[in-house]
């Protein structure tokens, strides 16, 4: 059995091709059923996201080429797209490359945004669906479970998922390094810009409990606050309200500082020095940058955040290299498992056949001799066992070695034929 992958992704196909062959929740079950109806596909799973459509199949090693054509044909036929239009964008992987590909996709190394966390959930869902349709078997089950554990390893052993590469995510990450848990924290928006709103949305998504919007015109503040079921206040109340805010995102069009150093000093005193994270995404700036020198106050302007993002992008490349190393090791292990798995039945059969012969002959001889002391009986057992093991040792170790090198197919078959093991 061989693992075969046929698919296309954001790397090989533009969106107008991807959308033509993508599966929806409604028709993916039907797709899986149609896929495993292909004569040469023994097991199958379909992964369909906005960035990729990939078909994983377990196929017979000899029918690799046929299976490949069948699956490409299935994709074209199922979506009523001419095969000639699809073919230039399709890629095929089998053997080691297909295993590595699944591991890389699950670990989010093949994603458009490397390290984004959604892909693992999407693969899990795709696999569960195929399992429910009984379209997966021993090989794909093992492959996908392994892929999930590899993805988990990559996430815990590298920082690939922790490196925020967008400004609003970098802000959330910084907030978490200052406050730990964001539950129960309050975020204040000063000004009602789009970017501030986006950052606030991420913070709320990460657990921030309360949102306060402060704006020059109260109507606008109320409108934005209602989107977060938060509170609105006018700019006159700024300083009073600041004392209750842990995170501040400022994005007004004001020409000078809206929050100066002295104000931060006063507010911090009222807060009994509880830390404040002030994010200034306005140009010209709203918050006096020297406020960063005050203890327990962290002021980041747009360039600072951009700097963090750049550092993260750099770190991520290094982390990706570490992740690739982990994956290479896991791929090797998986292939070893599969190979030894394939050689195993032959070895077991060979051994049990030989043992059967030995047992029968020993019993026959024992009966003929008659009165035999226990010690002598044991000696005969030991002698025959040793002979057997010595004779079987070369073929068994040859089979094992071939299995590890991946040349098992021919040798296996030969041994089976030679000893009539399939009878």
């Amino acid at each position: 059995m061989e693992i075969l992958l046929v698919g296309l992704s954001h790397k090989t196909a533009p969106v107008d091709i991807r959308e033509k062959v993508s599966f929806s929740e409604r028709n993916i079950g039907e797709g899986i059923r149609a896929l495993v109806e292909c004569p040469n596909v023994h097991e199958g799973t379909i992964l369909s996201t906005c960035n990729r459509v990939e078909v994983f199949a377990a196929v017979s090693r000899k029918e690799l080429e046929a299976a490949r054509r069948e699956i490409a044909g299935f994709l074209a036929h199922f979506h009523n797209v001419p095969l000639t239009e699809l073919e230039p964008h399709l890629y095929f992987r089998s053997g080691e490359a297909s295993v590595a590909h699944v591991f890389r996709v699950a670990s989010s190394l093949d994603s458009m945004m490397v390290g984004e966390p959604q892909i693992l959930g999407q693969i899990k869902e795709a696999y569960n669906l195929a399992a429910r349709e009984r379209a997966t078997g021993e090989i794909l089950n093992r492959l996908f479970h392994k892929a999930f554990s590899v993805a988990k390893r990559v996430r815990t052993e590298t920082r690939i998922a922790a490196c925020a590469v967008s400004i609003s995510f970098a802000a959330v990450e910084l907030a978490k390094k200052i406050f730990g848990e964001l539950e129960g924290k309050t975020v204040m928006l000063i000004g009602a810009g789009e970017m501030a709103e986006l950052a606030a949305r991420h913070l709320v998504g990460s657990g921030v409990g309360r949102v306060v919007v402060v704006n020059r015109t109260l109507e606008r503040a109320i409108a934005l606050a209602s989107a977060f079921t938060g509170e609105a206040a006018s700019l006159d109340e700024l300083e009073d309200r600041l004392a209750g805010a842990d995170i501040v995102i400022s994005s007004t069009g004001a020409p000078g500082f809206v929050i100066d150093r002295e104000m931060v000093h006063r507010v911090l005193k009222k807060r009994k020095n509880r830390p404040m994270f002030l994010i200034d995404i306005a140009v010209p700036r709203d918050i006096d940058p020297t406020a960063n020198d005050i203890g327990n106050v962290y002021v980041y302007d747009i360039d600072d955040l951009e700097g963090v993002v750049q550092a993260n992008i750099k770190a991520r490349t290094q982390e990706a290299a570490k992740a690739e190393e982990i994956i290479a090791g896991e791929v090797r292990q998986f292939l070893d498992w599969r190979r030894s798995r394939e050689a195993f039945p032959t070895i077991v059969k060979l051994r049990s056949w030989a043992e059967e012969v030995r047992r029968a002959e020993v019993e026959k001889t024992m009966k003929k001799i008659g009165n035999l002391s226990d010690a002598d009986a044991k000696r005969i057992e030991a002698l025959t066992e040793t002979i057997l093991n010595k004779i079987l040792h070369p073929p068994v170790s040859r089979l094992k070695r071939a299995a590890h090198r991946g040349e098992d197919g021919d040798l296996n078959e030969m041994v089976r034929k030679l000893f009539d093991l399939d009878e």
Partner: protein, 272 residues
């Protein structure tokens, strides 16, 4: 037997230290598990050491510098393991456990490894109350020190706006500050009780509660420093950086009370 227990504990502390430091750069979940496991074994080995000494020689707690160093090391490991029940942050180990190892290693280098002679006047069970209380208090201050150093490093990362590897490795300021606070709120009462019991014992043994022995004086200075941090924290919100800096200064006082008084200023508390 004693020697086997001690050597085993020293080796295990070395393994734990190595793995905690390794975990700073090498993110593999197995590494801190190895460290933690060795730490438990080290705790048991040191326990065995004291058990053997007690069975053989009577009162082995802190009557010689050798024993004091090992006992201090044991207290640090114990307090660290207790604290990590609440805070599951193996990175803290990299800032605390090397200290336990260094103390034990220093003990191994001492020429005089015997039990100290205690004057008959001091042969009292107060030893078993006064010494553990003081040492456990000091061990908590080691943890506060570790958390304080980590706080300052993480704060520097955040203030400089150029987050490096440490930024990702270290926990949040909030967590570090709360470890610091917790260690102080446990350590301070222990130190207070240590001083009080010591003073009662002194009354029994020497007939005076307090006689400005260097150890007494420096303990009081240490106590005042930690009292100041806790007071500032509860009243005017001395948190974060200030608390971290104070627990580092306080720790310097602890070290001086422990070593300086013994090695430089001679007094009633000096070891043989």
């Amino acid at each position: 037997m004693e020697f086997i227990f001690f050597s085993a504990s020293l080796f295990l502390l070395f393994v734990a230290t190595l793995h905690y430091l390794l975990f700073l750069v090498y993110r593999n979940p197995v590494v801190p598990r190895v460290a933690r496991f060795s730490l438990f074994l080290a705790l048991a080995a040191q326990g065995g050491f004291f058990l053997v000494r007690t069975l053989g020689g009577g009162m082995p707690l802190g009557t010689s510098l050798y024993e004091s160093l090992i006992f201090f090391s044991w207290c640090i490991v114990l307090c660290y393991l207790l604290l990590t029940l609440k805070y599951k942050i193996p990175v803290l180990g990299a800032f605390v456990i090397p200290m336990a190892f260094i103390l034990s290693a220093a003990a191994a280098l001492l020429p005089n490894k015997g039990t100290g002679e205690i004057p008959p006047a001091l042969k009292s069970y107060w030893l078993f109350i006064h010494v553990p209380l003081s040492f456990l208090g000091d061990a908590m201050f080691v943890l506060a020190f570790g958390a304080g150093v980590m706080y300052l490093l993480q704060e520097k990362q955040l203030k400089s706006k150029k987050p490096g590897v440490l930024y990702h490795r270290l926990p949040s300021l909030e967590v570090l500050d709360s470890i610091n606070y917790r260690a102080l709120t446990i350590g301070f009462p222990l130190l207070t009780l240590g001083i009080i019991t010591g003073s009662i014992w002194a009354q029994y043994a020497w007939g005076a509660y307090w006689q400005w022995d260097p150890k007494e004086t420096w303990s009081l200075i240490t106590w005042l420093i930690y009292a100041a941090v806790l007071h500032g924290r509860l009243t005017v919100g001395w948190r974060g950086r200030k608390a971290a800096v104070f627990s580092i200064v306080g720790f310097a006082a602890v070290l001086f009370t422990f070593f300086g008084v013994n090695l430089i200023l001679k007094g009633l508390h000096s070891y043989n």
